[in-house]
């Protein structure tokens, strides 16, 4: 018997709640069979979830570390593993291992700073853990601004939590936008990059930016116009992963592995790496 610890061997997780968040994103609540959180994590870290026989994939842990009872994963239906998960019911077992990657520097670089979160679509999932962490420890941070956009109102992830909790927090301002006009929407209409520019934020903020590459590109251009430096902007990457521990050779960007050196990068760090993500 090989008694060494083996990082590739997961533990069993049980899905205890499934919430349909948007037409193609569900949020899954996961605990161990004895009802506990599978492991502790820091904001921005990820976990490998698998369904034996279907596959294993990396997902950001969307719940905050301050939640000590369970973990949540907001997952968009877009491939084999995610399609299978989307038909899973409460009580379904999956496997889980982690946590993986470096978290956002919530207790160091972010401490005492005004924070500006910018997300598009499902990219709110990795940022939600950070947002709820800094909301929980609000006295450690300055003002919190959140700009979030999606294709339509229905595509806004965690809409109820945003309206019922985030928007009601003192010191937290939420700016929502959707791509096109729709009947039951009286909020802002337009793409995230333009909205950020229109809002014209002061540069006394640390930015946490996540979204599709095209959104990041244009938002960054807008931020630069407003006077932000790349050293002020953090993002989190996602690439194909198999091992999650920097050995299978798949998720590298230059000499960095997204699974263990990332997924969180500061944009000036990314600038020194090949544009292969």
């Amino acid at each position: 018997m090989n008694t060494r610890r083996e990082p590739l061997i997961p533990v069993v997780g049980v899905i205890t709640d499934v919430r349909l968040d948007t037409p193609d994103i569900k949020t899954f609540r996961v605990v161990t069979p004895d009802g506990k959180k599978a492991f502790d994590h820091r904001p921005g870290q990820c976990a490998m979830l698998s369904i034996p026989g279907v596959g294993e994939a990396m997902f950001s842990i969307t719940s905050s570390p301050t939640n000590t009872e369970y973990m949540e994963f907001s997952i968009k239906k877009c491939g084999c593993v995610t399609e299978w998960l989307h038909q899973a019911e409460v009580g379904q077992n999956i496997t889980i291992r982690g946590p993986y990657g470096n978290p956002f520097p919530v207790d160091t670089e972010f401490a005492g700073k005004n924070l500006l979160f910018i997300a598009g679509g499902v990219a709110l999932a990795p940022l939600r853990s950070v947002i709820n962490y800094v909301r929980h420890y609000k006295d450690r941070y300055g003002k919190i601004d959140i700009v979030y956009g999606a294709r339509s109102k229905e595509d806004l992830l965690q809409y109820r939590e945003i309206i019922d909790e985030w928007c009601k927090d003192e010191g937290v301002t939420v700016y929502l936008t959707i791509d096109r006009e729709q009947a039951d929407w009286d909020g802002h209409v337009g793409f995230v990059p333009n909205y950020v520019k229109e809002l014209g934020f002061d540069t006394d903020k640390t930015v946490i930016l996540c979204g599709p590459p095209i959104m990041i590109k244009f938002t960054l251009a807008g931020l630069t116009e407003l006077g932000f430096k790349k050293e002020q902007v953090y993002t989190t990457l996602e690439l194909k992963m198999k091992c999650a521990i920097g050995k299978c050779g798949r998720c590298n960007v230059g000499s960095k592995y997204v699974c263990k050196d990332g997924p969180v990068f500061r944009l000036d760090e990314l600038d020194e790496l090949p544009n292969e993500y």
């Binding site: 060494r4 061997i9 496997t95 050995k247 050779g249 000499s255």
Partner: protein, 338 residues
């Protein structure tokens, strides 16, 4: 230094095989590969094996764990077993270095328990080269083929074999073989002779200058990657014969009764290597080709104190169907001398 006659070798192999499985290069069907020793199996005289010895620690396919699935429930079965003791005899200097390169991947935290178990139970007996050939360039990476290392080094000089232990594991094994002591003169003479051959090899002047950590952006953006990779078929042969390529895939197989999660070698040269549901960050063969060589010559050294991820064994030079290889890359991208 200890010594035995070539004729005594079979008896020594038998003695080693009493306590551990013994593998050595043997000729079969026109090629040489590591073969389990048994009475009648003859040690090959070939320079090196077709397949690298990385299989001993990192097999091409291995089962990692099993799952039993019943309804909604899953049970995970840890099927890992402690490796049996084994000895690999006749490993060349290039391949001995490849184990160090793999160690720096699999034995850094969090370490790979499958690899670690085999590594702990394996004893490497290396054999010094006497006839390096035109595809050899181990010296480019600071490897001395006359001093191959491993747990025990063996030099074959005409009718005698000279043995020297390099590690505790090696000493323990060598102590059980009952060999007579000998002076080093024959070995030293052989080393000088081999060094003279090395100097005359066509790749003797190949250097790593121009490569190494910190050169990422300069080399990544070279336009020459396009012409170098144009004919690449993406067959992955170079990665499979390579003793240091360690990329792997993890897959599940449903036997109908249980699910086996296994790992198998993969190749960064394959088009689906980085493909995921939302896209692929290396869409063209240029990007995949560049990744393989940048990894060996820039990214790996950057993460490993300047040690390169190539050992100059020459297998890819001999096997690539379009005759593209790391030597051509080093000359074109890094500007190494002919």
């Amino acid at each position: 230094m200890l010594k035995c006659s070539y004729d005594a070798l079979n008896g020594i192999f038998a003695k080693i095989a009493e306590n551990a499985k013994l593998y050595l290069p043997a000729d079969k069907d026109g090629k040489t590969d590591y073969t389990k020793w048994a009475e009648g199996v003859e040690w090959s005289n070939a320079l090196n094996t077709a397949r690298s010895p990385k299989d001993f620690f990192f097999p091409q396919v291995e089962d990692l764990m099993k799952f039993k699935v019943e309804g909604k429930s899953i049970a995970i079965d840890d099927i890992r077993e402690e490796s049996e003791d084994f000895v690999v005899f006749g490993v060349r200097a290039c391949d001995v270095r490849s184990f160090d390169i793999l160690d720096r991947v699999f034995l850094i935290e969090p370490y790979d328990s499958y690899y670690a178990s085999r590594r702990e139970h394996g004893v490497i007996i290396s054999c010094a080269c006497t006839r390096p050939t035109e595809t050899c360039f181990c010296k480019t990476f600071g490897i001395d083929c006359t001093n191959p290392g491993g747990d025990i080094t063996v030099w074959r000089c005409e009718d005698a074999l000279y043995w020297q232990a390099n590690t505790e594991k090696g000493e323990k094994l060598l102590g059980t073989l009952g060999l007579e002591s000998a002076d080093e003169s024959a070995v030293n003479a052989q080393k000088e002779q081999t060094a003279r051959i090395m100097e005359k090899l066509p790749l003797a002047k190949l250097t790593t200058e121009g490569f190494g950590g910190g050169k990422t952006m300069e080399l990544f953006n070279k336009p020459e990657w396009k012409s170098l990779s144009e004919a690449c078929l993406g067959c992955g042969t170079c990665t499979f014969v390579c003793p240091t390529c360690q990329c792997y895939d993890v897959k599940d197989f449903n036997t109908g009764n249980e699910i086996i999660r296994y790992r198998c070698w993969d190749s960064c040269m394959y088009s689906d290597f980085t493909k995921m549901a939302h896209g692929n960050n290396r869409l063209s063969q240029v990007e995949r080709f560049r990744q393989r060589f940048m990894h060996k010559l820039v990214y790996y050294p950057e993460n490993n104190e300047g040690i390169f991820g190539c050992v100059g064994c020459g297998r890819c030079l001999a096997k690539c169907p379009i005759s593209m290889n790391i030597v051509k890359v080093m000359k074109t991208i890094g500007g190494s001398a002919e």
